[in-house]
Point group: C2
């Protein structure tokens, strides 16, 4: 085995489909509804581990988990006018119950702002109850007309972690936006996913938001994928739903809200970003299986059985130390076939245990990420595995960050920007005057999408690539998913 | 406070609605879609604790968790003819995406047999892969035309734990049915929910099943509620979906399947069954908060502050020992008002800590279930609380079982059976010849529903209440939810 990244980066779509199916993460394209896939047992465990990280971070920052109905009546969804315009063409509608027509069409939730604000209006009366932070982990639905892709562009997004918060003032909501951004940074760090944080331009905000802040990452093929968004909703939804609270000064007013969400794409990026031609390399923080033991047969049956016994013993030792380990006990496959399977599953460490290891009471440890190996004494294996898992986690994070950074370029010329995007993809930053007109022109001329600008208004001593006025900041442009 | 159970048993519906809303479990009847409620943070935690118990039991018996799409195309749902007949009048249909009409109507899953069998057909090829046991925890939907009730009769059942298994032979599937029954017994024991296990009669089986076994419990008002079902599906679904596997003898044949499920009703019964007029009494095994500390103010501010400090110290001690404890630090409410709130939330133990306890370094422990109290030294509080929690768990279980058993009566006369059901409700067992005709007649004459018969064919030396032929077994009849 060698580290190669040809297939992974050049034929990423194919690689990704292959990994999801062969690695038994997610069966896509075979369930008879377009854009909806099936989480298989192994993928489901990865999904659960990622959900746990997010849940723990949200719980520990005072978010309370709730669960709202799937269905939103049409009249409710239409209350906030920008919101419904943003979603109406991509909503699935329930119109029948049994053979009866329903009086009111019911939407499969595309997102839950109006549903949640409806109940907040009943639950929250006073500033004393604020700030209030709710979240839920649910399926959301989008009638995508573009080509769908597993985990990335779906009609059923099965793992939407959406938070919704309520505050007395605009500034309180802004502070919540900052908290949300910090939480998301922690989540992505934990998943070893590098990101670029931008404020989305006014023409690409969440429907109904005052500000949208987005985390984007770069996929192996150089295309950019949005992996998390944070919205300052201001009073748009509270006003539309006539939701008022009593303020500290005794007056009644509409509270300020935020919402933020992370979808299945967080899982897609964990699988995609740390890969090579043999499959993904799952960060130990979320890998369902951290160590696989592949027993190497001996020359005779008795020796093989002793190797198996020793393998199981080592694996149990690791499990007892909370390092999830599995011994591949299949007797029909060769070690090589087993290596292949566990590589597609992205298990970060493989132990190869054969007659030599048995005889010397040692264990051969192989890292999935850089192919380094170590032979250690049986009694050192737990500590060494722990150490190697930590190193892998850190190295994956570093490598991914370096790769991301190397794919961000600056161009003060629109043709140059266009060329970079066409040849190397990634993200191009161009100097920009700040106007919508120039922003849209940049999108048109580069045939790419504007991600937005750095939240810490980054000054550039340059001219806008379109109007040649003094640039206010850089605008980020990319080919996106 | 006295133990009274008037309101709880005589006005159960009202009691239940009041507890769900005031106890902040589940907001029902205010969300603008009929039959769909909102899990509030406290109720959500209870729901999670119950899910954890079920998940652990399923995981530890080799069930693998998966997640299937919500939507099932009409043609797929119609493949098993009995199945679609059983569900077609109560399916919600998605017919539109944006403003387009869909080519094929899509059902919101009422249950997932056909969806899961479709993928099993792709995943499972050989007897070597069997038995295979999948499960998922999802929302299922029923367009109920009867009056809906919170958690009990819903249009969105949010917490359906459905398992689906595949086996080589009929007998293997039957053994799986038995395993499922044992798992469900453990689940209900853990929740301190007593049950009656019956095989449903042929006219009340799950649509598409060969056999349906059901767990029923008796609610405080004497009405019976189904809380879990286990189905032997035979080859009905594998045949309908042309799902074959290679058997040990090399031949290709349809495998045998089972499915079993537990819904939100398990949660409803945990809240309902152990109640009294002050609210529910949650079994410690699932209570989100096991101990609440209510500080009793002193005569002066400084004393009150010291009591608060001592209260928090005790609570932290419990939390450190993995006993979830909360100190009610509200300074505007009286202790009496606080007692009221925590009783509606069903917290099993209350600690009252005032100047006297502070002065003597003691803690006053009050049991929610039988009002017994204990004063113990600070250093004994952790052990005493653990002991009392165990006692409460055991006592709740015992009391509930005694109550259930006292509500099962035998009647060898149809008039007597009818009278019992009209006056005392509960379950009546009548001798029965085994014929469908007589069974349906029993339902008609008692104006109640047949639950079925004991799975261990219980012989009775008596005559069928309808045809006067020798009875084969008893048939259970009840007013049901």
């Amino acid at each position: 085995m060698q580290i190669t990244r040809e297939k992974w980066s050049k034929n990423f779509s194919e690689w990704f489909d292959w990994v999801l199916r062969e690695g038994e993460f997610y069966d896509y394209g075979r369930y008879p509804v377009k854009g909806m896939g099936v989480w298989m047992p192994y993928g489901f465990k990865l999904r659960q581990n990622i959900i746990s990280i997010i849940r723990n971070l949200l719980d520990s920052t005072g978010h309370e988990e709730v669960l709202f109905p799937l269905l939103i009546p049409e009249d409710l969804l239409s209350r906030e006018s920008t919101h419904i315009k943003g979603f109406e063409e991509e909503v699935f509608w329930v119109t029948k119950g049994g053979s009866e027509d329903l009086d009111v069409k019911l939407a499969l939730r595309p997102t839950s702002e109006v549903a949640i604000t409806t109940m907040e209006n009943l639950w929250l009366k006073s500033y004393k109850q604020l700030p209030k932070k709710y979240y839920q982990i649910v399926s959301v639905f989008r009638y995508e007309t573009k080509a769908t892709r597993p985990m990335i562009r779906l009609r059923e997004i099965t793992t939407f972690k959406e938070a919704h918060t309520v505050h007395e003032t605009y500034d309180d909501a802004q502070r919540q936006v900052e908290e949300a951004i910090e939480i998301y940074k922690k989540i992505f760090n934990n998943l070893a996913i590098p990101y670029v944080l931008s404020e989305r331009p006014e023409w690409d905000r969440f429907a109904g938001a005052l500000h949208t802040y987005a985390f984007d990452t770069i996929m192996p093929d150089g295309k950019v994928m949005q992996i998390g968004t944070v919205h300052h909703l201001g009073q748009n939804f509270s006003r539309a739903l006539d939701f008022k609270i009593q303020k500290k000064d005794g007056s009644l007013d509409y509270p300020h809200q935020t919402s933020y969400g992370i979808s299945d794409r967080a899982i897609a990026s964990v699988i995609a970003i740390h890969g090579d031609d043999h499959g993904p390399i799952l960060p130990p923080s979320v890998a369902p299986i951290k160590v696989v033991v592949v027993p190497i047969p001996a020359k005779n049956e008795e020796g093989t059985q002793q190797v198996m016994k020793y393998s199981i013993e080592i694996c149990e030792m690791l499990n007892k130390n909370n390092i999830t380990c599995v011994t591949d006990q299949d007797t029909e496959k060769t070690p090589g076939e087993k290596f292949y399977i566990w590589e597609i599953k992205g298990v970060p460490i493989r132990l190869e245990i054969g007659p030599r290891e048995l005889a010397s009471s040692t264990v051969f440890i192989k890292r999935r990420d850089n192919l380094k190996s170590y032979t250690v004494k049986k009694e050192e294996v737990v500590n060494k595995v722990k150490e190697v898992l930590n190193e892998i986690q850190e190295d994956l994070r570093k490598r991914a960050w370096e790769s991301l950074k190397s794919r961000i370029e600056y161009a003060n010329d629109i043709e140059k920007a266009k060329n970079i995007l066409e040849n190397n993809s990634g993200i191009v930053e161009v100097p920009w005057c700040g106007s919508k007109e120039c922003g849209l022109k940049i999108e048109e001329l580069t045939n790419a999408r504007v991600l937005g600008y750095p939240i810490e208004d980054r000054k550039v001593n340059d001219k806008c690539v379109i109007c040649k006025m003094n640039a206010k900041t850089v605008l980020r442009v990319a080919k996106t998913y």
